[in-house]
Symmetry: C2
Subunit: 421 residues, 2 copies
């Protein structure tokens, strides 16, 4: 038996126990689920110094071996733990996603069909170094009646183990199976996890685009996540250019590494001569490199603008770089977005409401915006209360995903001996 086979066998047992534990959660009234969340928040605060000490040991072990950005994500302190507790309490305050009646249909006398929301079952979450993922996603899973298997980065092993222990203790003290929250550690565990089709209902990878793509192509379990965010702003011929300049600057510069940052600006030829020089000047003051199509370069200074190639249109820069293209028409803009966009978030700047409505109808993306920055695509800004991820898939959950991405529905049919014959 290979290591992976052995790991798979033991993980099958973990998954079976977790499903069983999930069944207990699914039948728990919301008051009880919320009480557990409040107790977890308190337990986190009580264990704060222990958690910070474990985190210090994790940090010491990898200091100098990882990038500063990585180290910053790994590190936490008393304030970080307090923040974890606050976020768990926030989930307790969200409305119950379970048992919501979507429709009721009477099929015959005394035979009634209820379409009702219910948990997915068992969720697998694979994340990199941030330890605050554990309380956040465990809270969302518990609230939605799902069991969870968590796989964190090995760098955060001590912190993660302690955080998971706090959860399990509270579950145990509440008379619930601790197996509702499970932490796994090794790479073999991940390979094994990806094979548990039929036992795990959904995998949520949190990390880089390559990481998400790797998970999606190596498992036939459904994956919720987003590969990339190639977002556009189309500046229409009837745009208010002041709005266009402000929104484009915000969408590029307020957080260039975010997936909802803009990567390409499409500008209608009728406004390009006025729009481009001021846009260039604003981008330059903000330290943004501008790459342009031939017409853009001709309207500015061809010497100082890098020529944008087909590669630029399909690239998520995640950096202070922007590509600009002049288009002949609305249709050309829509066609460009359909070909190169990642179906994440697309914006139109126009004062013509009909043109905006048409854009928002025909453009295929999770978010279609009129006169607003693409940076609004975020679960907290959307009022979801908490975000489990952003989905660029069109099935099940789309765009920023909160609790509703962790539930499905079932049809409950209440009869009295009914047969179809």
């Amino acid at each position: 038996m290979t290591d992976v086979q052995r790991t798979t066998e033991s993980l099958v047992e973990v998954a079976r126990s977790a499903r069983l534990a999930g069944r207990s959660l699914s039948a728990l009234p919301v008051e009880k689920r919320n009480a557990i969340l409040m107790a977890v928040a308190e337990a986190l605060e009580e264990s704060s110094s222990e958690i910070v000490a474990a985190n210090k040991r994790d940090c010491e072990r990898v200091r100098g071996e990882v990038s500063q950005a990585f180290f910053d994500r790994l590190q936490t302190d008393e304030e970080g733990v307090a923040d974890m507790a606050t976020k768990v309490r926030a989930v307790a305050k969200l409305p119950d996603p379970l048992g919501e009646t979507i429709s009721v249909t009477s099929l015959a006398s005394d035979l009634t069909l209820h379409k009702v929301t219910c948990p997915l079952g068992l969720i697998g979450i694979i994340f990199e170094s941030r330890p605050d993922v554990i309380p956040q996603v465990s809270a969302l899973c518990l609230k939605s009646g799902n069991a969870v298997i968590l796989k964190g980065g090995t760098e955060a092993a001590e912190t993660n183990t302690l955080l998971a222990k706090v959860w399990q203790q509270v579950l145990g003290e509440s008379g619930l199976p601790e197996e509702a929250v499970n932490l796994i550690h090794t790479r073999e565990d991940v390979s094994a996890l990806l094979r548990l089709e039929g036992l795990i209902d959904l995998i949520i990878p949190r990390g880089s685009k390559d990481f998400v793509n790797y998970i999606a192509t190596h498992s036939s379990i459904p994956v919720l996540g987003h590969g990339e965010g190639i977002c556009h702003i189309y500046v229409d011929e009837q745009a208010d250019l002041e709005k266009a300049w402000n929104i484009a600057t915000d969408a590029k510069t307020s957080y260039p590494a975010a997936c909802n940052a803009v990567e390409t600006i499409l500008v209608h030829e009728r406004v390009a001569t006025v729009f481009l020089p001021e846009m260039l000047s604003r981008f330059r003051s903000a330290g943004v490199e501008v790459r342009g199509c031939d017409r853009t370069r001709a309207l500015l200074d061809p010497q100082s603008i890098v020529s944008a190639s087909d590669n630029d249109w399909q690239q998520e820069y995640s950096d202070l770089i922007i590509s600009i293209k002049v288009v002949d028409s609305f249709d050309e803009a829509v066609e460009h977005i359909d070909r190169y966009g990642s179906r994440h978030t697309e914006a139109i700047i126009t004062e013509n409401r009909d043109t905006a409505e048409r854009f928002m109808t025909v453009v295929d993306a999770a978010g279609v915006y009129h006169n607003a920055s693409t940076r609004f695509a975020d679960g907290f800004r959307y009022g979801l209360g908490a975000e489990i991820g952003i989905s660029t898939s069109k099935l099940h959950a789309r765009g920023p995903v909160g609790l509703q991405g962790l539930v499905t529905y079932k049809y409950k049919l209440f009869g009295n001996g009914h047969t179809v014959g």
Copy 2:
């Protein structure tokens, strides 16, 4: 260049034109979409003799080379065509699945987020011999604003070509691109179709379990369908046995080949001695072969009851065969269903409403029934008006799927120059 590469290249062009055509459909008011459906129904009736003649030629070509059941599914007549027209008109009468507002949230002054239903985009449908699939699914796709690529069995080539031509003519006469409905023919086409990730949004295979599994494992495009239907009836200790006998007989014998037929009966030990003999006698009168666990056999005549093995618990007989298992408890029944069920439809027979509610909460299946036959799991019976398929997946669409399985949602954000900074 290989044949498949060449086919893929030409199919990419088909898919791009289809997406473009879909964009026109998505912006069409529902009155216009319905008018096209009514015109298609009329055109089908007008072309009836032509369609029947084409079908005769198809039938002649394969007569004697295919099974009688296959031949019966392929064959149609004037009445069959009239029925197609009726079903297209029925889709026209269904409520509009597009543009339904799921929620409205005010994010700031003058900044409003609308969550609105919209088409998926481009659907690929792969089906076997029944020609009536073309008008049925094309109607559902058009109503939901989706373009469609259809691949039917080569045996029905002439019939299918004519049916697709009728659709395309009506589209053309209505000023819409004919590319909204496309028919492809060869096996190479199917291989190519399965590779069009990013262009095709959903594949719906209609056919045998093996066929559906083949499609699902050979494409990374999402698939809507069901692999199998292993449905159970659990006869609780507080069951009304008359209801149990009636429902079990109906669920097995009214249409054994259906995916919603029951395959295994789980019976609580406290009622097994009374339940089993009468059940056996009813099954025998209906020509059903009974296979039993050791306890079932001991309670009946061990000589005459085939012993059920682990294989039986995981088998969809699709035939007049049933397996029966005696269980110690409610929990053992639920555990058996979790391990062997296909998450399709599961029923409990009991007079105890609390037990029923518990079963319906903890059993993980698209349909959970109280005192009713599993055979009710059907889009028409559920009042969906038309069925595109049944899904045993938990994401997106679950159970019998009508128009709502062909739409997703998008977030429309209406601003007035809003930035996040």
